[in-house]
């Protein structure tokens, strides 16, 4: 990142606060989650690096460190820490991360394109039948569960491949990614239903 601290002139790792002088910055609500964590936009994210960044930047913005700095600084810390936590939540969840990238590149939103890939639909109808009819914990349900998990992995690989490297803004492939995301949402919901019906845990 090229930005510098308006207070001390040091280079900034995150637009939330200056790592050199500690001053908190005012950041817009819709700021890019990648920028907030000091990263270039891109689909692959190193989970460990992300966590390290979260912790390092939290040390700069956590309200605990502004308890004596007056109401205004405290409010800013609350706000910036909330932005940081939200950015981390988006980037550490592959669905939300992909979602954000598709939107950023001008691809269709979930509202614009709610469909799933054509090939997937037939299977969905079959799965729904099993979901409705098979009893919780039965062999059939277990089979469905592992089948869904397998599918989920396959879809995830497809999404990752389509977004690495990032396609050009407005690329036609973004519609495909959106459909895959919709499919994965369906699988996640179905898996959620299976584990919920298997009993409270």
């Amino acid at each position: 990142m090229d930005a510098t601290c308006p207070s001390c002139g040091a280079g900034l790792e995150t637009p939330l606060a200056c790592g050199a002088c500690g001053v908190l910055m005012l950041t817009e609500d819709g700021a890019c989650p990648f920028a907030l964590l000091g990263l270039e936009p891109g689909f692959p994210v190193d989970a460990k690096d992300l966590k390290t960044r979260l912790r390092r930047f939290t040390r700069l913005v956590h309200p605990d460190f502004f308890a004596l700095e007056g109401e205004e600084a405290l409010a800013k810390a609350e706000r910036n820490n909330a932005l940081l936590n939200e950015a981390f939540a988006v980037l550490s969840d592959e669905t939300r991360r992909a979602d954000r990238l598709v939107a950023r590149l001008g691809g269709p939103s979930k509202k614009d394109l709610g469909s799933m890939p054509q090939a997937f639909l037939m299977e969905v109808m079959e799965w729904n039948e099993t979901l409705e009819e098979a009893s919780p914990g039965s062999a059939e349900m277990l089979r469905l569960s592992s089948e869904l998990t397998e599918h989920r992995d396959r879809i995830s690989t497809e999404i990752a491949a389509a977004l690495t490297p990032l396609p050009q803004p407005g690329a036609a492939s973004l519609a495909g990614v959106r459909q895959s995301l919709n499919a994965r949402r369906y699988v996640d919901r179905a898996l959620g239903r299976i584990s919920a019906s298997a009993g409270p845990a």
């Binding site: 912790r55 956590h62 309200p63 605990d64 460190f65 609350e78 909330a82 936590n85 939200e86 409270p200």
Partner: protein
């Protein structure tokens, strides 16, 4: 004493911030000193304050040990376990719990719990404020008179917004600035981590007097990160006691009138007997539940074996283990991934609890830290962080419950998921359904259930001041912010015009801002009176101790003192006995001073004989 005081005062930083464990059964202050947290002590003992308040018919309130001592002879005026009612409405409370209380519980017109003692009604916030005042007063004594204005106060991690707000309001009523509301298991992990210098994944199992929490944390390089938390805000030692109370009741069933069970004296005696037996059962294979109230015709003794108690307690312990399962699942961990289990809270002394925790996690829990002190120690460490003393420690906590909005259809739409890191914010857009509609109502919920009716209602908000526009055109952005204390604030803005809409809040289970202000104002008016009352109560307690010593040694006085001194002593004793019932501070003070003077010759004689006894029969060389 005077010298020590001076020295302590010089060492004090400009601002003293203490950590307070505000517990269901006991409360405890701690402070950071010389690079580590330390429990505050008065006269060499931890300044442990029983969370009990006694209110006389004349309105005088006493807190702590004195109040607990009154709980047997005056149960209807003695309030205990008030923490279980914080931020609650009467309608939500378990009938069985209410039936066991020796004091009266009523509700405000909005349905908030109130206790009625000494002809006066108190909200749980006000009772807790009295406890906090006493904790601060004792902490001040422990620090040689330093004034305490700010504190870090702990709450169960599973406390919801209303319960946290209630705690914060209690502190405000007690004249304390709350620098942070910190979760009890998080505080405990902090104390554990600082003490043991261990890193890794830690599970904190905290079974207190009235609440249960489990938190899974990662401790690494001074970062204490809560991965997940779960719990039950109505599961604790009180519930274990209740099992034994029920045993006593069934033992008495048929032999006494049913109305006896409603008598405050019975309820209190049964509770105390149960508590005693429970504590004994942690040590011995069996214990006796004993109750003897001749005036009620109650006389019973029932032997309970540990095995029987454990059979009764098993479902409660099982409930806590289910919470541990859910917490691990949310943290995406298995029991074997946990490197250490830390036990917190007095109820973890129950052998069954330890055994079940060990069985579930597959490792013996860590028991080196005192489970009654570790939370207060952690709160003091957190206070140090807030005071700017340490940037090496970083606490990252989560919200225990999902936050949601009621939809048109009565479902709960989740805005913030449980175990989300705090602070966090979420923005939600609203619009109007009718032309020129100027207000929008929404209902904020907390909980995991799908239907709004099954979640806990936090409050109803009314957005007003929306400029007149056709239906659907206004875009009101509402921002929900959970702060580092886990408390919600809501702000709104009409985005097409930029007009900031105002929000009226009607908390479902808490005090409104106006109610807190009114209570504060009333307490300022009463501050002088309160101070005098307190002084009077302290003097009466002191007179009590002096009287006990004087009457115990009256024979010595009559044998060894001159007639005049003996007469003085008798007069002073009679006057002091009378003064204990007196409501005038000056008269009580005078009686105490007279008694003090009159007992001096006796004290001298006693001291003399103690020395003589010590040296008698010994040769000079032995001394």
């Amino acid at each position: 004493m005077g010298y020590i005081e001076l020295e302590v005062l010089e060492d004090q930083p400009k601002r003293v911030v203490i950590g307070i464990d505000l517990g269901t059964t006991n409360s405890l202050p701690a402070i950071w000193k010389d690079g580590r947290p330390e429990i505050l002590e008065v006269e060499g003992e931890p300044a442990l304050i029983p969370s009990v308040v006694h209110v006389s018919d004349d309105g005088t309130a006493v807190v702590g040990r004195t109040a607990r001592a009154r709980s047997m002879d005056d149960p209807a005026h003695t309030v205990h376990s008030i923490k279980r009612f914080m931020g609650r409405s009467l309608g939500e409370l378990d009938e069985a719990v209410l039936r066991r209380l020796p004091y009266q519980v009523t509700q405000t017109e909005r349905g908030l719990v109130q206790v009625e003692v000494g002809g006066k009604r108190f909200t749980p916030q006000e009772i807790s404020a009295l406890i906090l005042r006493e904790v601060a007063a004792q902490a001040s004594v422990a620090m040689g008179g330093a004034e305490i204005l700010s504190a870090v106060i702990t709450v169960p991690a599973y406390f919801d917004d209303a319960q946290r707000q209630a705690t914060r309001d209690a502190a405000r009523l007690a004249g304390l600035e709350v620098l942070r509301i910190v979760n009890e298991p998080t505080a405990a992990s902090l104390a554990y981590g600082l003490d043991q210098k261990e890193e890794g994944t830690v599970a904190v199992y905290d079974l207190g007097g009235g609440t249960f929490d489990v938190s899974i944390l990662s401790i690494e390089g001074g970062v204490f990160e809560v991965l997940s938390t779960n719990g039950d805000t109505s599961l604790g030692g009180d519930d274990l006691d209740a099992l034994l109370v029920d045993l006593l009741r069934s033992e008495l069933e048929g032999s006494v009138e049913g109305s006896v069970f409603d008598d405050p004296a019975f309820r209190q005696a049964a509770r105390l007997s149960a508590e005693k037996a429970k504590v004994a059962l942690s040590r011995d294979p069996e214990a006796d539940l004993v109750i003897s109230l001749p005036e009620l015709g109650v006389n019973a003794r029932r032997t309970v074996t540990r095995e029987e108690f454990e059979r009764l307690a098993a479902p409660l312990v099982e409930r806590s283990i289910r919470c541990c399962e859910r917490a691990l699942k949310d943290a995406e961990l298995e029991p074997k991934d946990v490197d250490e289990v830390v036990l917190v809270g007095g109820s973890t002394r129950v052998p069954l609890v330890r055994a079940e925790v060990e069985r579930f996690f597959g490792r013996a829990p860590h028991t080196e830290l005192n489970p009654d002190q570790v939370v207060a120690l952690g709160a003091a460490a957190q206070a140090e962080v807030l005071m700017g003393g340490s940037r090496d420690i970083l606490l990252m906590d989560v919200t225990p419950l999902s936050l949601g909005l009621e939809t048109m259809g009565g479902a709960a739409e989740k805005l913030i998921q449980r175990n989300n890191r705090i602070p966090c914010s979420v923005k939600e857009g609203f619009t109007t359904y009718a032309d020129n509609q100027s207000a929008i109502d929404f209902h904020v919920l907390q909980g995991e259930r799908e239907l709004a009716a099954d979640c806990r209602s936090l409050g109803r908000f009314k957005l007003t001041g929306i400029p007149p526009m056709p239906a659907g055109l206004p875009r009101v952005g509402v921002k929900f912010h959970l702060d580092a204390d886990g408390i919600l604030t809501v702000s709104a803005k009409e985005e097409s015009t930029g007009a900031s809409a105002s929000i009226e809040v009607k908390p479902s289970h808490g005090l409104t801002e106006d109610e807190v202000s009114d209570m504060l104002e009333a307490s300022f008016k009463n501050a002088r009176k309160d101070f005098e009352e307190r002084r009077r109560v302290d003097l009466i307690a002191e007179i009590g101790i002096m009287l006990r010593h004087a009457t115990a040694n009256l024979t010595v006085a009559e044998e060894r003192l001159d007639r005049e001194s003996v007469e003085d002593l008798h007069e002073a004793i009679a006057a002091a006995k009378e003064a204990r019932l007196c409501t005038e501070l000056e008269l009580v003070q005078a009686a105490r001073d007279t008694l003090d003077r009159a007992t001096m010759p006796l004290a001298a004689v006693l001291m003399d004989s103690v020395v003589k006894e010590a040296v008698s029969g010994k040769k000079l060389g032995d001394l």
